[in-house]
């Protein structure tokens, strides 16, 4: 089973702290950062996969630091009926979850690689990409 994806949201007051480093050093957690948007002047967000024996202690530490933690409940789906395999999304998708298979030129969607940035939902010309909760 693939590790759970979680989303961290932190206020600008703690955006300058080395929080992720502590998760590794003090809780021995394996971290895969899927998406990070950290700006010292704004609220930051980070999507990551987290695994390790001290998972629960790690989450408690995050909450203590004032980080809001929530499971990544939204998922992007492709409506196979609607997708025409035009390809317009394949050079826009930042994680390579949507890609062109060659030489068939069919558009493929590898949802495990999706970081739910939802840019495909906006740009898909036939609205084949959908967000589900």
């Amino acid at each position: 089973m693939s590790p759970k994806k979680i989303i961290l949201r932190f206020g600008k007051d703690i955006a300058d702290k080395p929080i992720i480093y502590c998760l590794v050093r003090d809780y021995d957690l394996v971290i895969n950062i899927l998406k990070a948007n950290v700006d010292q002047n704004k609220e930051g967000t980070m999507v990551l996969e987290l695994t390790g024996e001290k998972y629960d202690q790690g989450l408690a530490f995050l909450k203590n630091q004032g980080v809001r933690v929530q499971p990544l409940a939204e998922e992007v789906f492709r409506n196979e009926e609607k997708c025409t395999s035009c390809g317009a999304c394949t050079d826009i998708c930042p994680s390579g979850a949507l890609y062109m298979e060659r030489p068939s030129m069919e558009v493929k969607f590898e949802s495990d690689n999706c970081i739910v940035c939802q840019i495909c939902v906006k740009i898909c010309p036939v609205k084949a990409m959908e967000v589900r909760f």
Partner: protein
């Protein structure tokens, strides 16, 4: 002896189930293996296909008369206005038309989620569509307003009539500026971040008949999942051969088609409402043309490959909008389809906007129809202008009175 076949001879073979039909993709390897002459001798028809956004599309509708009658000075279908400056209860619904309350690009980039193309798809899908009409009232057309629901089958006629489809070739769009731009060629990332193209290349109808040797007025075609016809040349039909500044040739471009067909026999997966973020709404159209192999010259044309066909690379951040002539070079469709092109020593990721798998499907369906004897070829009433006619595009000059 030179190979010459007539439309009548080819149709006889189709009727007797003996015609040899290949798609424009399949014929490439045959020609590579056997050569032009042998391929021209053995193949009767080559089918082409394309599926992409074709903005100059729309449908003529006749609603029938209500009791009491209304002239219908203005109409809306699911809130999208249609043109009614023609006879009573006739209208033309254009693919790019938007509801009057669409925020457009006021909230940039606008989404353009529903427009004329989407109404056309809903009609073809036999969904119920809301019709609203108003008029000023006359002695013969007393009613002043009307609101009802209808489906495609309730209409007297629904004639798809697309003034400019099946572009022979198209630009490869890039963005030289420092900000993301939203165009009819999709989202273009800053500083040459990506390159978008829109052609089926070696499967594309007009790239397989570059000199208009067979396609003309009355040519029977695959249109929107049903049968249609070439009505005329398309608007902005400027067929030519692309050249760079040194005079090197980069293949055909510039031709367009005007096509027509009965919407009632078309299918919603081949007429798809389409939205381009920050640009607008349109219709994606599946279109395919059979090419009769009349002689070796026609066979030579249909054996073209993605390696031989080129798209001009154009900057859409300034050059396109400001109508600055020239381009940044040419990229072959083989390069474009590889996922990367090289421009000024830089590798740029590419993506298409027209679906190659769907283009292949169109050519395959058309091949199947012909093989089963359900679809006969038509000899054009008149061929269309070609590069030999040297039609120059006119520009619009802004003048005072």
């Amino acid at each position: 002896m030179a190979i010459e076949k007539t439309y009548a001879e080819i149709n006889e073979k189709i009727k007797s189930g003996k015609a040899v039909v290949l798609t424009a993709e399949e014929v490439i390897s045959l020609v590579e293996e056997k050569g032009i002459t042998e391929a021209a001798r053995s193949v009767d028809v080559v089918t082409t296909g394309t599926f992409g956004a074709m903005c100059s599309s729309g449908v003529f509708l006749n609603f029938g008369h209500s009791k009491p009658r209304i002239r219908m000075q203005k109409v809306w279908l699911n809130g999208v206005p249609a043109y009614t400056g023609i006879a009573a209860v006739d209208a033309y619904l254009g693919a790019t038309e938007l509801p009057e309350d669409d925020p457009c690009n006021n909230n940039y980039p606008g989404e353009f989620r529903y427009g004329g193309g989407h109404v056309i798809q809903d009609l073809v899908a036999r969904k119920q569509v809301k019709l609203e009409a108003v008029s000023y009232g006359t002695d013969c057309y007393p009613r002043k307003e009307l609101e009802t629901f209808l489906t495609l089958d309730d209409l007297n006629e629904a004639t798809l009539f697309n003034p400019r489809n099946a572009y022979q070739n198209y630009n490869c769009a890039v963005n030289l500026s420092g900000r993301t731009i939203y165009t009819y060629m999709g989202m273009l990332k800053p500083n040459l971040g990506n390159a978008h193209y829109s052609s089926a290349g070696q499967l594309s109808p007009l790239l397989n008949d570059p000199y208009f040797l067979t396609i003309g007025i009355g040519t029977r075609i695959f249109l929107g999942g049903g049968v249609g016809y070439v009505a005329w040349n398309g608007t902005q039909h400027f067929p030519g051969i692309q050249q760079d500044s040194a005079g090197k040739s980069y293949g055909p471009a510039g031709g367009t088609l005007s096509v027509i067909g009965d919407l009632k026999q078309m299918k919603p997966n081949w007429l798809v409402g389409t939205s381009f973020l920050g640009y607008g709404a349109t219709l994606s159209v599946g279109l395919g043309i059979p090419i009769p192999i009349l002689n070796e010259e026609v066979m030579r044309c249909v054996s073209v490959t993605d390696r031989d066909l080129y798209a001009p690379i154009v900057d859409y951040s300034e050059a396109y909008g400001q109508r600055i002539p020239g381009n940044l070079g040419f990229a072959s469709y083989a390069e474009l389809k590889s996922g990367r092109i090289n421009l000024n020593g830089r590798e740029i990721p590419t993506a298409p906007l027209s679906s190659y798998p769907k283009a292949r499907e169109v050519a395959g369906i058309l091949k199947n129809w012909i093989q089963k004897g359900e679809f006969l070829l038509t000899e054009p009433v008149k061929l269309l202008p070609s590069y030999k006619d040297e039609i120059a595009s006119r520009t619009l000059e802004i003048k005072g009175i």
